[in-house]
C-alpha cells in the first residue's frame, strides 16, 4: 500500500502582472492586473514505504510546489493527495509527527543559539523525553559526524555543519517520511557525500521513505533507484534511473585513445563525433550498433585504450530540457 499517493494534483497561483518603469508602476497602482500561473498540472504518482525517490526537473518545473502540497504547506487547486493515510493540508498532529521537510536554503534552527537549544524545543514539541532525546541526538550526531558544533551558535557554523545540524533537527522525531528539497545545496563535495551517506544510512536503519529534489545528479544517482521527472508542472517520467537513461539516451559514449589520430572527418561512419583532446577521442554511438562499431574501431585503428559508458545523466537531462524534447 503506497505511503504517498497523488492523483491529478494541480496548483495554480495568481500572480501580479506589472510592467517595469514608472508607467507600469502607475498602471499597476490604479488598475492592478494579475494572471494565473499553472505551477503543477495533473501530477499523479504513488510511493511505497521505504522507497527513495528522486524528483528531477529544471528550476520552476513545479518540484517545490509539489513538495509543499505533499507536506500540507499549501492547498492543492485540484486533485487528491494522501500521505501516511492523511490529507496533508489538514495538518493533523498525527500526520505532522510522521513527516519532515528539509529545505537546503531555509533553516529552522535558531540563528543566535547553539543547535542544542533548538533540539530541546523540538524534543518538547514532539513529546520526546529528555533521556530518549539525548539518545537520539547522540545517534544522529554520530551518523552526521557532529560534536562540539552542537554547542556553538548556529551563526558561527559553516554551511556544511549547519546543514548537518538542520538534518539532525528535522529528524529528531524520527519521521517515517522525509521530503528533502535540495538538501546539499551549496555544500562542498565532501559535505555533499557525507549528507548522502547519512540519508542512505537513515533510510536503512529506519525504513524511511524519502522524496528528494536535487540539482546535483550525484545525489540522485547515489541514492535513488527511481526518479520522477517533472517539467512545466507536468510529470513526464516515472520509473528507474536506468530506464530514464535508456529512454532518453539512445546513444552510448565511446571514449578511446589512438596512437596516431586521423582528422575528425574520418570517424563520420562510426558515430557522432563529440570531441578530441590530443589522442583522446569521444564518439556517441547508437546502442544497437555498439558492438559492431567497437569491433570496427579496433580493427581499423591502432587503439591504445577504449571505454564505453552512458553519457552523464545531468548531460542527458540538460540536453533534453534545452532541446525542449519534453512534452
Amino acid at each position: 500500500m503506497p505511503i504517498i499517493s497523488a492523483r491529478g494534483l494541480s496548483k495554480t497561483y495568481r500572480v501580479a502582472d506589472k510592467q517595469p518603469g514608472i508607467g507600469g508602476t502607475l498602471r499597476h497602482f490604479f488598475a492592478r492586473r494579475s494572471r494565473d500561473v499553472q505551477a503543477v498540472s495533473e501530477v499523479s504518482f504513488t510511493i511505497e514505504p521505504g522507497e527513495i525517490v528522486g524528483f528531477l526537473g529544471p528550476n520552476g518545473a513545479g518540484k517545490t510546489t509539489t513538495l509543499k502540497m505533499l507536506t500540507g504547506l499549501i492547498h492543492p487547486s485540484a486533485g487528491e493527495v494522501e500521505v501516511a493515510g492523511c490529507a496533508p493540508f489538514r495538518r493533523q498532529a498525527g500526520f505532522l509527527r510522521q513527516i519532515t521537510l528539509v529545505m537546503g536554503q531555509k533553516q529552522q534552527l535558531i540563528w543566535d543559539l547553539p543547535p542544542l537549544d533548538s533540539l530541546r524545543v523540538n524534543a518538547a514539541v514532539y513529546g520526546i523525553d529528555d533521556a530518549e532525546a539525548k539518545r537520539r541526538i547522540d545517534e544522529l550526531a554520530g551518523m552526521l559526524d557532529l560534536g562540539e558544533e552542537l554547542t556553538r551558535p548556529v551563526r558561527k557554523l559553516s554551511l556544511g555543519q549547519r546543514m548537518k545540524a538542520e538534518l539532525l533537527a528535522a529528524l529528531l522525531h524520527r519521521p517515517a517520511i522525509l521530503f528533502l528539497d535540495e538538501p546539499t545545496l551549496g555544500l562542498d563535495v565532501n559535505a555533499q557525500a557525507r549528507v548522502r551517506e547519512f540519508l542512505a544510512d537513515y533510510n536503512r536503519r529506519h525504513g524511511a521513505t524519502v522524496l528528494l529534489t536535487s540539482h546535483y545528479m550525484a545525489d540522485i544517482t547515489a541514492l535513488c533507484r527511481r526518479v520522477l521527472l517533472i517539467h512545466q508542472g507536468k510529470l513526464f517520467y516515472d520509473g528507474s534511473l536506468d530506464g530514464l537513461t535508456e529512454r532518453l539516451a539512445p546513444h552510448r559514449e565511446v571514449r578511446f585513445e589512438l596512437r596516431d589520430p586521423p582528422p575528425a572527418a574520418a570517424f563520420a561512419s562510426y558515430g557522432a563525433f563529440e570531441s578530441q583532446d590530443g589522442q583522446q577521442l569521444r564518439l556517441l554511438v547508437p546502442r544497437s550498433e555498439l558492438t559492431a562499431t567497437v569491433s570496427r574501431l579496433l580493427a581499423d585503428f591502432d587503439v591504445l585504450d577504449l571505454e564505453v559508458s552512458d553519457p552523464p545523466i545531468e548531460e542527458i537531462i540538460g540536453r533534453l530540457f534545452r532541446q525542449g524534447a519534453v512534452s
Binding site: 505532522l96 529545505m103 518538547a124
Partner: protein, 270 residues
C-alpha cells in the same frame, strides 16, 4: 481520561518551559537592543512632563503626585504590553520562515507568544532601573502599592497584554491576504494613543468621549491596569468584563482568520 488530560498538561507545561527558557536565552543576545526599546517607551513620562507644566491637571483634581504615579504606572504597563507580532510574522511569512513552524505539531502562535513573554522578562531590569532613576528625581512620587493591589495590577497587566496580543493577531492574520499587514496595524496606533489613556488620563476626557473610549478595548489595555498599579479607584469588575468581552469577540475571529488564511498561504520564499 483524567490520565490523558494530565499527560497533555505535562506536555504543555514542558513545551512552555522549554520555549520560554530558549526564547529568554535568545532575547538576552539582544539585551542592548531591548534596553533601547525600553528607553524608547518613555512617552508616558514625556506626557507627565507636559501635564506637570499645565494647570489643567489641578482643574481635574489630580495632584502632582497622583499624576506622577499614573504616568509612571502607564509607563510600566506599556513596557509589558508591547506587541510586535505583526512585524515578525509578516517577515517570517515573506521569508518562508513560517513554513517549518507550520510543519510541527504546535500552533505557531505559541512560539510568538513565548517570544513576547521572554522579551518582557529581558526588559524587566531596564524598567526597574528607569523607575529607580525616576524616583531619584521625584522622591515625592514614590509609593508602594498594597500587596493585593499589586497582585491585581500584575494580573491586569498580563490580561491587557493578552488583549493587545489578540487584537494584533487579528490584524496579523491579514498577512495571508496582504503582504503589508503591518501598515494596517499602524492605523490602530492612533485610537490606541488617544483612547487608552496614554496621552491623558481618562478623567481628562469630556464625558461623551470618555464613555465612547470605555466601549473600545483600548482603556483596558493601559488605563485600567495603570490605575490599579497607581492605587487609583477603579471599576475592577467593569475592566475585567471589558477584557473578557473583547477577548471573546477577538479569539474566535483570530482563529477563523487563521484557518481561512492558511488556505491562501502560498509558502512564499520557501
Amino acid at each position: 481520561m483524567r490520565g490523558s488530560r494530565r499527560l497533555r498538561f505535562a506536555r504543555g507545561w514542558r513545551i512552555a518551559r522549554v520555549l520560554l527558557s530558549t526564547q529568554y536565552a535568545y532575547m538576552l543576545e539582544y539585551r542592548a537592543e531591548i534596553a533601547l526599546w525600553a528607553l524608547s517607551g518613555v512617552l508616558p513620562l514625556i506626557m507627565l512632563g507636559v501635564w506637570s507644566g499645565s494647570e489643567a491637571a489641578g482643574g481635574l483634581g489630580l495632584s502632582p503626585e497622583r499624576l506622577s504615579r499614573y504616568f509612571l504606572s502607564a509607563f510600566v504597563v506599556r513596557q509589558f504590553t508591547i506587541v510586535w507580532l505583526v512585524h515578525v510574522f509578516e517577515e517570517d511569512a515573506l521569508q518562508g520562515r513560517l513554513s517549518p513552524y507550520l510543519l510541527q505539531p504546535l500552533h505557531p502562535l505559541w512560539r510568538y507568544l513565548a517570544s513576547h513573554l521572554s522579551e518582557q522578562a529581558t526588559r524587566l531590569p531596564f524598567v526597574v532601573l528607569i523607575m529607580a532613576i525616576f524616583f531619584l528625581f521625584q522622591p515625592a512620587a514614590f509609593w508602594l502599592p498594597t500587596p493585593g493591589g499589586f497582585l491585581l495590577a500584575v494580573v491586569a497587566i498580563h490580561l491587557a497584554f493578552l488583549l493587545r496580543f489578540l487584537l494584533q493577531t487579528v490584524i496579523t492574520m491579514l498577512c495571508f491576504w496582504t503582504e503589508r499587514a503591518a501598515a494596517l496595524e499602524r492605523l490602530l496606533l492612533i485610537p490606541y494613543l488617544f483612547l487608552s489613556g496614554l496621552v491623558a488620563p481618562l478623567e481628562a476626557f469630556p464625558e461623551g468621549v470618555r464613555a465612547f473610549a470605555l466601549l473600545t478595548p483600548f482603556p483596558a489595555m493601559l488605563s485600567f491596569p495603570a490605575q490599579l498599579l497607581a492605587g487609583e479607584p477603579v471599576d475592577l469588575a467593569g475592566g475585567l468584563i471589558t477584557i473578557g468581552v473583547w477577548a471573546a469577540l477577538l479569539l474566535p475571529l483570530a482563529l477563523w482568520l487563521w484557518q481561512a488564511g492558511l488556505r491562501r498561504y502560498s509558502a512564499m520564499g520557501a
